[in-house]
């Protein structure tokens, strides 16, 4: 592919007996916002670190911005900006100093560096705090600084490893808005890893789902969800649902299953948004009033469950302990 920003072929990384990344192949096109979704310990960080030249692959090939990550690491480093999962800014320095030194690492001329830093700090709302020590920043501010620090040298490709890990919902949304803005303004290719389904859905044009070091599905969030069997979940709350009413609901063609638990009915239905009014009408016929309706549409979590039989959240703690317990250095396993 001519316009592939990232090209990965059969990439493998082993730590002793553990295979963290197991024969992964994919491509990311220039200008694409690509996301890797998977539970912690699935191999996302290891994969990103191989693409960023921080880890050497056990086998396979990977090219970033057209450069081989093993043979041409310097060229790769010049082409990428990376926001690691950990906060890496120096707390003893100001935001401006952090960015200035980072810019010097890339030999950016002084005037250009100064203008670029001022502009980036302005965009992320840190201009007024730019000369304050990073130690005085909140978690959200530090994360914003991490992002603009990675953009000082105008990289072609921006890697973000769990960029909103540990942030409150408001800060998370701020980061999302910033990333969308930078994608547009800087004409960036963005490669993001996350275990937040909503983050991948909100930001990524294409998503790869990774589990146990293997890609199990890859496409746009809509297409991935579209591949699932057509089934939505409708949750209804009503006082004392009668047995004959449950039987009546099951007679609908579009109702696949009904479960009753106390005052809650959980219905598996086809095309939930459209058929819910019909369900509510039938319930009214039994003289019952529904107090709460919740239609749960298909999400990437459902995609993960569909392919693996497990939820992402259930997997997280178990996988991290499996890796560390197997002797993989804890600093290489991101939580």
């Amino acid at each position: 592919m001519d316009n592939a920003a990232i090209e990965v072929r059969e990439l493998v990384k082993k730590f002793g007996e553990i295979t963290a990344v197991n024969g992964v192949s994919f491509e990311v096109r220039e200008g694409e916002f690509f996301g890797f979704l998977g539970p912690n310990g699935a191999g996302k960080t290891t994969l990103i670190r191989m693409l960023n030249t921080l880890l050497k692959p056990t086998s396979g090939k990977a090219a970033v911005a057209g450069f081989d990550v093993v043979k041409e690491p310097d060229e790769v480093r010049r082409a990428i900006g990376v926001v690691p999962q950990a906060m890496t800014s120096d707390l003893d320095l100001t935001a401006y100093e952090n960015m200035d030194i980072y810019g010097r690492f890339y030999s950016i001329p002084a005037r250009e560096r100064k203008e670029r830093i001022a502009r980036l700090l302005e965009i992320v709302g840190l201009a007024e705090r730019g000369n304050d020590l990073v130690a005085t920043y909140s978690g959200g501010m530090r994360r914003r600084l991490e992002i603009v620090k990675a953009l000082v040298h105008r990289p072609q490709i921006l890697f973000l490893d769990e960029p909103t890990q540990g942030l409150d919902p408001q800060s998370r949304r701020t980061v999302w808005e910033l990333l969308k803005g930078f994608e547009e303004e800087e004409k960036l290719t963005i490669f993001l890893s996350t275990h937040y389904m909503e983050e991948a859905e909100e930001l990524c044009g294409r998503v790869g789902i990774i589990d146990y070091g293997k890609i199990i599905a890859m496409d746009s969030p809509e297409k991935l969800k579209g591949e699932l069997p057509e089934r939505d979940t409708v949750l209804l709350e009503l006082p004392d649902p009668a047995e004959e009413m449950v039987r009546a609901l099951k007679e609908f063609d579009f109702v696949l299953d009904v479960k009753r638990e106390n005052d809650t009915l959980t219905l598996s239905v086809k095309n939930g948004a459209h058929v819910t009014p019909l369900i509510l009408s039938r319930i009214l016929e039994f003289g019952k009033t529904v107090t709460s309706v919740n239609i749960k549409e298909r999400s990437l979590e459902d995609v993960f469950i569909y392919y693996t039989g497990r939820s992402i959240r259930e997997e997280e703690a178990r996988k991290v302990s499996r890796f560390i317990g197997a002797g993989v250095p804890s600093k290489l396993v991101q939580r």
Binding site: I101, F105, S107
Partner: protein, 370 residues
């Protein structure tokens, strides 16, 4: 520019930590004052019992001489006792370090020119105190003997007159080279490679491994900032030591510049060595554990506290490859003897070669990936 950026980052971080700056200045001086006094201080006030069972003139003369030592150098604190059993029990119980028992026939045998013996009981589990008491007692007894020699025999005695080649160095001044080397050692341990260990521990290292910085940029940059910080703090420690002890720099600016060069070269050598030793360490606790060990193996066999000539053969062999030994020798030569480059070029050549080897090995051993 990249190299300068590494240096700038490190210097800025150091400047923002006034506690580290303060400790860098004070610790070497305090350390050496305590250490130096623990090792080199003369023993005073050792409790020694005197049991005079004789009471004759020779015994009284001996007691008088011991009193003179007590009130002069103060090596002993004499306790006159009548019961020799009690004196020996006092030693066993730790109340006394020794006891001189003068037997009843001491004066009689002395006057009869027969062998007169007094007993010296020592707590020989404390080797240093025992050795000091033994030596001081021996001199006191010799002094008694001299008085019984005829005057004409004095001419036959051989005298040795000592002549100092250099101005006298008092004890405080003699510690200054050690203070300076200690300041360098502590400086090199808390800058350079240590900053890399801290960055690695805090997860900050990852951010600059992702940039185009080369191994050489990272290693030489951190060493350079370490040299600047350590040299400045060591220089301040040195100037402070001069002011406290009053050592004159009678060689003027050339002498001072040569001393500065020795400090610079030693700092560079030790920082390079630290990079080789600590370049792959990922937890500051390991540095903490190594600190004491490295200090012992490099500082004590350096000649800063005790002359290398007193070491056993194997330790002398180690001193031959110990950079601090060369640094101490060069610094002492220039500071106390106002020696020129010609007298210390061998030390400098060793330090230069050592730096070259350590820096090359440090860069080669440094891992550019996680």
């Amino acid at each position: 520019m990249r190299l300068l950026a590494v240096i700038k980052r490190d210097l800025l971080k150091f400047r923002r930590n006034p506690v580290i700056m303060f400790l860098s200045l004070v610790l070497p001086i305090v350390y050496l004052i305590i250490l130096g006094n623990s090792f080199q201080g003369k023993l005073k006030g050792l409790p020694v019992a005197v049991v005079d069972l004789d009471g004759g003139p020779a015994a009284r003369d001996l007691a008088r001489r011991l009193r003179a030592i007590e009130s002069g150098p103060g090596t002993f604190e004499l306790i006159f006792m009548k019961d020799q059993e009690a004196a020996i029990r006092g030693i066993r119980e730790g109340a006394l370090k020794g006891a001189v028992i003068i037997p009843p026939d001491f004066t009689r045998r002395s006057l009869a020119r027969r062998r007169a013996e007094a007993g010296l009981f020592l707590d020989n589990t404390d080797a240093i105190s025992a050795s000091t008491i033994r030596e001081t007692m021996r001199r006191a007894f010799e002094a008694i003997e001299i008085e019984y020699y005829p005057v004409r025999e004095e001419r036959a005695r051989k005298y040795l007159r000592d002549i100092d080649l250099y101005r006298r160095i008092d004890y405080g001044q003699s510690l200054v080279p050690g203070v300076v080397i200690m300041a360098i050692f502590l400086g090199t341990l808390t800058t350079g490679a240590f900053n890399l260990v801290m960055d690695r521990f805090l997860g900050i290292e990852e951010s600059y491994l992702l940039t185009p910085l080369t191994k050489g940029d990272i290693v030489t940059g951190l060493i350079a900032s370490g040299v600047i910080i350590t040299t400045i703090t060591t220089l301040m420690v040195f100037i402070l030591s001069i002011l406290i002890t009053g050592i004159p720099l009678w060689g003027g600016v050339p002498q001072f510049m040569l001393l500065l060069f020795i400090i610079l070269l030693t700092t560079l050598g030790l920082l390079s060595m630290m990079f080789l030793l600590l370049g792959r360490v990922s937890h500051p606790r390991i540095v903490g554990l190594l600190t004491g060990f490295l200090n012992v193996i490099f500082f004590f066999p350096s000649g800063a506290v005790y002359p290398i000539e007193s070491f056993p053969r194997w330790l002398k062999a180690f001193a031959k490859v110990n950079p601090e030994a060369y640094a101490v020798h060069a610094f002492k030569s220039v500071l106390f003897k106002n020696a020129g480059v010609g007298a210390v070029w061998g030390d400098m050549a060793f330090l230069l070669a050592f730096t070259g080897i350590m820096m090359t090995a440090g860069i080669l051993a440094f891992k550019r990936t996680l």
